[in-house]
């Protein structure tokens, strides 16, 4: 039972951190298909720098990388006003191609030792606190309220004297921090970088965010639910259920099907921020 719980936490914590990264950007109105690429970059940077700079250095570099690539995203969407979907897809391509190329050229090849990884409980503690902190900040701080209003209607927010671009700059910085943490957690769990190791986690995190109606605590719970589904799938793989063999793919499909149903409005009303993708 204990090992099962550990599996649930292992599976859901990176998702949760990444979903918080998605929350920071999407609630401010920046559609973030690029989560996958941001996490992958962070994974690569953490694995590449931790052997030289130590555990803390690796995580700091990963967070910086997350911030840099989020700033790129901000420049593309807010300054050049490229479509959010196009820029997000481009970031994913860039990250997948770039890290693959650098890895094949001999970077980030080392397996991280115990001393080169931050202890996992540190990440888990951050993952546990982050949704509550974000929830509190969204409703009780000046930035939180401005953040929400920019995401709901950027032109009305502008009339109130809020600068949407500035708020989104800060929001995307936060996205960078969280995707950096999510990436370094994934590397700490597996202790080595492999090509395209995020394996669609960016999209599942996005799904969790949608299922949670773009609210931090429900999104975190959705991540736990998806983590639970994955752990159950690992436990059951190869074992017959109800007298027949259920392919593991069925379990893997669950998060996506549930998200589709949520988007179809079958699980409560659609809570998409109204200013998503608008300038």
């Amino acid at each position: 039972m204990n090992s099962f719980l550990l599996q649930v936490v292992t599976m859901s914590a990176p998702l949760l951190l990444l979903a918080m990264a998605g929350y920071a950007s999407e609630r401010s109105g920046v559609i973030n298909i690029g989560l996958e690429g941001k996490m992958l970059t962070a994974c690569f940077v953490c694995a590449a720098f931790a052997p030289q700079f130590g555990a803390i250095g690796g995580v700091v570099m990963a967070i910086l990388a997350g911030i840099v690539i989020s700033m790129l995203h901000w420049t593309l969407t807010q300054v050049y006003r490229i479509d959010h979907i196009v820029s997000g897809m481009a970031i994913n391509l860039l990250a997948s191609g770039g890290t693959g190329f650098l890895e094949a050229s001999g970077f980030a090849k080392n397996t991280l030792t115990e001393a080169q990884r931050l202890p996992l409980w540190f990440y888990y503690a951050v993952a546990l606190l982050a949704p509550f902190l974000l929830f509190w900040a969204a409703n009780h701080t000046r930035f939180g309220l401005q953040h929400k209003s920019v995401g709901s209607d950027p032109s009305k927010a502008r009339l109130l004297g809020i600068n949407p671009q500035r708020i989104r700059l800060l929001a995307l910085t936060l996205t960078g921090v969280f995707s950096g943490l999510a990436g370094s957690l994934l590397v700490s769990e597996t202790s080595t970088f492999t090509k395209d190791m995020t394996a669609g986690r960016g999209y599942i995190a996005l799904a969790a965010l949608i299922l949670g109606g773009w609210r931090p605590i429900p999104a975190a719970l959705s991540c736990l639910l998806f983590g639970l589904a994955t752990a159950v799938q690992i436990q059951l793989s190869g074992k017959p259920m109800f007298g027949m063999q259920i392919p593991s793919e069925i379990w893997k499909m669950l998060p996506y099907i549930v998200t589709l149903l949520a988007l179809a409005g079958l699980l409560g009303r659609n809570r998409t921020p109204a200013g998503l993708g608008k300038h």
Binding site: I31, I85, V86, M89, A90, L94, G100, A207, E249
Partner: protein, 332 residues
């Protein structure tokens, strides 16, 4: 417009050089390899055409949706589903009729796979990008489960259908020496031309463009924009499914786990690069095809293929920045 293409080209070269300097590799040889590997001789040009064919059809599919204001990221999933069910019917029926039925099944299943995204977009205002990403993931997992379980070919060791019988495979339309022109390539060209005609000269094509350009104005002009959205998604999905079925009939001759190798995502780049004129789909899919083919040749030199992906992504972003910035300003 025309002056920008050399800029994009120069930047692509600059990125490759920079990355190669970074990893301290030889600079001249990899760049030369991309060119010779994709266009060096007739056999390699055939390879580029082979890479280009699915991109041409998928590019038209994504382009059509884009004209209606929809991002069909789901081309990958619709392509997979079309290929899976198309190949199953081709193998079950066999012969020329099998290929025809398989293509039809591919169109239907691809369209059905896009339908939920269209319906959710039109009637629930759920973003089509999110729904199609979910549908992509479901398509990949579902087809894997199908060809690993009930439809696994008895002679196969990996999750895959059995091979199509040799006599029912599509042969190249004609061959000149080593240069092969596949039938599906010609189908792709015809689709592009038909699409260009339909968008320009047909009422429903015009309604689709109007919906994409300004949905509110289109609605006031009497266009049923919800219906157009669903129709555009259906057509786009149908074309993607057809691309999958043709890929099976012409090149792959079976469906297996890992069939879709990112053509659906490249197609978005193809559609974006072709800008306002569907005829440019031919040029941009050629560019992507040549990059894919040239990238494969790089692997022999020990340079990872990822570098071409990086170049393509930067080209897409630069093109989008140049092209779509003005449009945004008008909308505001």
């Amino acid at each position: 417009m025309k002056a920008k293409i050399p800029i994009l080209f120069a930047v692509s070269i600059a990125i490759i050089v920079l990355s190669l300097v970074l990893v301290k590799a030889n600079i001249v040889q990899p760049i030369a390899t991309i060119f010779t590997g994709s266009l060096g001789d007739a056999r390699r040009i055939s390879g580029t055409i082979k890479e280009m064919t699915p991109l041409l059809i998928l590019g038209s599919a994504v382009y059509l949706a884009l004209k209606a204001g929809l991002f069909n990221i789901g081309a990958e999933g619709q392509y997979t589903v079309g290929a899976c069910f198309g190949s199953l019917s081709m193998i079950a029926i066999g012969g020329g009729i099998g290929v025809a039925v398989g293509c039809f099944v591919g169109i239907i299943t691809g369209a059905l796979w896009a339908l939920p995204a269209g319906l959710i977009k039109a009637y629930r205002n759920g973003h089509e990008v999110i729904t199609t990403i979910m549908l992509n993931a479901i398509a990949l997992l579902m087809t894997k489960a199908l060809v690993a379980g009930p439809f696994k070919g008895p002679d196969q060791f990996t999750p895959s259908t059995s091979m199509m019988p040799v006599q029912s495979r599509l042969v190249p339309l004609f061959t000149i020496g080593n240069l092969e022109i596949p039938q599906s390539f010609v189908v792709g060209i015809v689709i592009v031309l038909l699409l260009a005609y339909w968008l320009k000269r047909n009422v429903s094509g015009f309604e689709l463009k109007a919906t994409g350009a300004n949905p509110t104005a289109a609605k006031f002009a009497g266009v049923n924009t919800k219906q157009v959205t669903v129709k555009a998604m259906l057509m786009s999905g149908g074309l993607s499914g057809l691309a999958g079925a043709l890929q099976v009939a012409q090149f792959e001759h079976r469906f297996y786990d890992g069939f879709a190798t990112g053509y659906g995502f490249d197609a978005l780049g193809v559609a974006l690069l072709s800008g306002s004129n569907p005829a440019y789909l031919i040029l941009s899919s050629f560019f992507f095809g040549a990059m894919n083919k040239g990238g494969t040749a790089l692997v022999i030199l020990g340079v990872d293929k990822g570098i071409t992906t990086v170049v393509l992504s930067i080209v897409i972003v630069m093109f989008a920045a140049i092209r779509y910035r003005k449009k945004e300003d008008i909308r505001e």
